[in-house]
């Protein structure tokens, strides 16, 4: 029995050193050399200044910007220090109320647009940090954004197309539009 305990403790310490220290250090070393941008958070820079991460969504609420997925992080949306979904069940009255208020906000910002609203634009994402919306959700907002910026709708739709990522190999995942990149592209039009 004492030998069994010694074997246990030594095995644990040996494996902790190997899989808990050496292994992550080796991976970090390789990652930092081979993929420095991605290993460090895919930071997006504008004029040498970091303005966000290409993978982490930001809250946009002005009519001249594309809005992203609703975010359930606390205490305010897109708090990337604390990822979270809403965890509201499909029959929860709070969910219905939240969706209704998002519909109202979208309609108020674009009163002439009576088309059905793409579902991803009124439901909160799993992470609360979703960087993407569906192409349908972007196209739904194109008229509002064009009007607020005094742009031609066709120009805005071109930008959406340019910033749409197709399915991986045409099969996996979903087509998606990165909201931060699309909005930065809008800002850079001027």
């Amino acid at each position: 029995m004492p030998r069994m305990i010694r074997n246990s403790v030594m095995s644990l310490l040996f494996m902790t050193a190997l899989t808990g220290i050496v292994y992550p250090l080796v991976i970090t070393g390789i990652a930092q050399v081979a993929f420095p941008g991605r290993a460090n958070g895919s930071i997006v820079e504008e004029n040498g200044k970091p303005v966000g991460s290409a993978l982490i969504g930001q809250q946009f609420g002005g009519p001249g910007y594309f809005w992203g997925r609703p975010s359930a992080t606390t205490p305010y949306p897109y708090n990337s220090a604390s990822s979270s979904g809403s965890n509201l069940g499909p029959n929860n009255p709070d969910l219905i109320r939240a969706v209704q208020s998002r519909i109202d906000a979208l309609r108020a910002a674009d009163p002439g647009n009576r088309r059905p609203i793409p579902v991803d634009l009124v439901t909160s994402s799993a992470s609360g940090l979703d960087p993407d919306i569906s192409p349908a959700a972007a196209i739904y907002q194109a008229g509002r954004v064009a009007r607020a910026r005094g742009l031609d709708v066709a120009k805005v739709r071109d930008l959406i197309a340019e910033n749409t990522r197709e399915r991986f190999l045409g099969i996996f995942g979903e087509p998606a539009v990165n909201v931060l990149r699309l909005n930065l592209a809008l800002d850079n039009l001027k």
Binding site: M15, L55, Q59, G61, Y65, A81, G85, A126
Partner: protein, 599 residues
């Protein structure tokens, strides 16, 4: 359900079936001690391990010694992990200066990771230092997986050996599983994940200026970080202008690789593989999702190879596929159908070339419905428990699929090692039931299944069953238990039933609205995870020991062949009947009642 959904599901399971073969044969060589191709590199490391730890490589253990080694090794793991969380504030690699994790949460988390459950009552990016994550949590991701595989290999030896007293050496099995199987796979996986954008850095969290500042009403906090309440008990709100965003970092990729491969599932970040830094692209999602079932599927092939009849492993694998694939489609169908409440509000939930449609609450745009539901089915079939979407927000029937898959006893693939030893227990029960029908002593793989084996097999099935139901009953009938419920009505009951299924089944996924970070859930959850793991491993090893002692009986005319389609169907029947009979009343009170509310 869309054409793309069907295509993705077929390709996913196809890739799994293709890769299981070669990996399974490789693992058989590893556990048989045969040369496997990596000996040149890893052999010296393996021998160093034996020398440093004082392990005699060729010493054999009987089942009691083997079980003792598993238990002491796991206990040591619990102590170290608990201790690490409690003192992380004073240790290096803590750039965010996180303080000690509370005792209750440390207890729960330590048991959670050592039992290969990885239930998370903590949020990684706000509670755990880099050191705790990599040298504590990730280490148990490796070791709990290796221990599960070791116990399986011991059981396989029980079938293979005859008139023998011993079933192998735990230290050797654990070390070879870690060094030759988990480490090389994790190494390749980590780098692939980083190439997709999963972070791997020891740097501090970065702060960036937002493109558009936001104004919010947020609760005022006191010095201790608690919300200030007014006279009515409502939180006092104050205006806040948010101009910056904190980008969390950490050595995530190295940990995510093993949490997927080892059916662990504990996320680096709070929302697990829904977090864009944990699972950034459709490709990373495919890789991570594949990793969930990869080793559990391949172990079926390993089993067949080691017992000298490949068809035996294929039969078990076939039963797993035949139960999981239809349930995966059921989940996708329920989610793609969308939420009827939203349909009447002018929301477009139809799938098209431009949007996934369906029930997108708690799902990520890049994954849509197909990638989310395949994951949900895979992660609960295997006792992985990582998530890329929030199961709590699934439609009633969509959420019932992952719950049911856990309640089948985590044998449809199941945990690495633990899933297949659970499946073998069901195979033993199946031959026993078949034997009863014709009045003949049942045999499996040439071993007579007698009273002792049946007692142990029944224990395995009953213990997990009882733990889930007793736990749920206690929780819903006490204030401490119901206090954690987040959603009203039957959905709230589903949250509790799911949690206890997850604890006892060592899965680790959750209907995450349930607030589990309370004294009640931390304590009872920790205890259930412990019993759900070790009260299964001990009877399994006891069966291994008993089988090893027996003589091999040559197959005769009256022997039920266990590699035929008939046996596969019979086995599936036993699993479904035991699982469904045991949990139908519970499911009727939760997801089924909730579904009926729509009509």
């Amino acid at each position: 359900m869309t054409g793309n959904d069907i295509l993705q599901t077929v390709l996913y399971f196809g890739a799994l079936a293709v890769l299981a073969g070669p990996l399974g044969l490789y693992m058989a060589r590893v556990y048989e001690g045969a040369p496997c191709g990596l000996d040149g590199v890893l052999g010296p490391l393996e021998r160093l391990f034996y020398r440093v730890c004082g392990i005699r490589q060729d010493e054999e253990m009987d089942w009691k010694q083997y079980a003792t080694a598993v238990l002491i090794f796991s206990a040591a793991g619990v102590f170290l992990l608990y201790f690490l969380q409690r003192v992380q504030g004073a240790l290096p690699l803590n750039p965010q200066k996180f303080g000690a994790v509370t005792p209750g949460l440390s207890f729960n988390t330590a048991l959670s990771f050592v039992t290969n459950t990885n239930w998370q009552n903590y949020s990684g990016e706000t509670a755990m230092s880099y050191l705790t994550q990599m040298a504590g949590l990730a280490v148990q991701n490796f070791l709990s997986a290796a221990a599960g595989m070791a116990a399986l290999v011991a059981l396989i030896r029980g079938f293979k050996r005859h008139s023998a007293n011993t079933i192998g050496n735990f230290w050797v099995d654990m070390a070879r599983g870690t060094l030759y199987i988990l480490m090389p796979l994790a190494l390749v996986y980590s780098l692939l994940l980083v190439s997709q954008g999963v972070v791997q850095s020891f740097g501090k969290y970065r702060t960036v200026d937002l493109v558009e500042a936001g104004n919010y009403e947020i609760p005022r906090l006191d010095a201790g970080g608690n919300a200030v309440k007014d006279a009515n008990g409502d939180p006092v709100m104050e205006k806040a202008k948010v101009t910056r965003q904190v980008i969390p970092l950490g050595p995530a990729a190295s940990q995510i690789a093993i949490k997927q491969l080892g059916t662990n599932g504990g996320g680096f970040f709070n929302v697990n593989s829904a977090h864009p830094f944990e699972n950034p692209t459709a490709f990373s999602n495919f890789l991570e999702c594949l990793a969930i079932l990869l080793i559990p599927a391949a172990l079926c092939i390993t089993f067949g190879k080691m017992v000298g009849d490949r068809r035996q492993g294929l039969a078990l694998l076939a039963a797993m596929f035949l139960i999981l694939v239809p349930l995966t489609f059921l989940c996708a169908w329920a989610e793609q159908g969308g939420n009827p409440h939203l349909a009447s509000m002018g929301v477009d939930q139809a799938a098209s070339a431009l949007q996934p449609g369906g029930n997108m609450e708690g799902k990520e745009a890049r994954f849509g419905i197909a990638d989310s539901t395949i994951w949900a089915a895979a992660t609960t079939a295997a006792s992985n428990g990582s998530v890329n979407s929030m199961h709590d927000s699934y439609m009633p029937l969509g959420g019932m699929v992952p719950m049911l898959l856990i309640q089948f006893g985590e044998v449809i693939f199941g945990g690495v090692g633990s899933g297949l030893y659970g499946m073998l227990i069901f195979a033993i029960i199946t031959v026993f039931v078949a034997g009863l029908m014709v009045g003949r002593t049942p045999e499996y793989l040439g071993k007579k299944i007698e009273i002792f084996e049946m007692k142990m097999a029944a224990l395995v099935v009953l213990i997990v069953n009882a733990l889930i139901k007793l736990g749920t009953a206690i929780a819903v009938s006490t204030k401490a238990g119901t206090a954690g419920i987040a959603n009203p009505g039957p959905h709230g009951f589903s949250e509790v039933l799911y949690a206890f299924s997850s604890f006892a089944g060592n899965n680790g996924s959750a209907f995450a609205g349930l607030n589990g970070n309370t004294v009640f859930y931390n304590t009872i959850g920790g205890i259930l995870m412990f019993f759900g793991r070790f009260w299964v491993i001990i009877p399994v090893l006891a069966i291994a020991g008993s089988l090893a002692k027996k003589k091999q009986v040559p197959a005769g005319l009256g022997t039920l062949p266990t590699h035929t389609p008939l046996f596969v169907v019979f086995l599936m029947g036993v699993i479904v009947i035991v699982g469904a009979l045991a949990f139908m009343p519970g499911l009727a009170l939760g997801p089924i009642a909730e579904q009926l509310m729509y009509h």
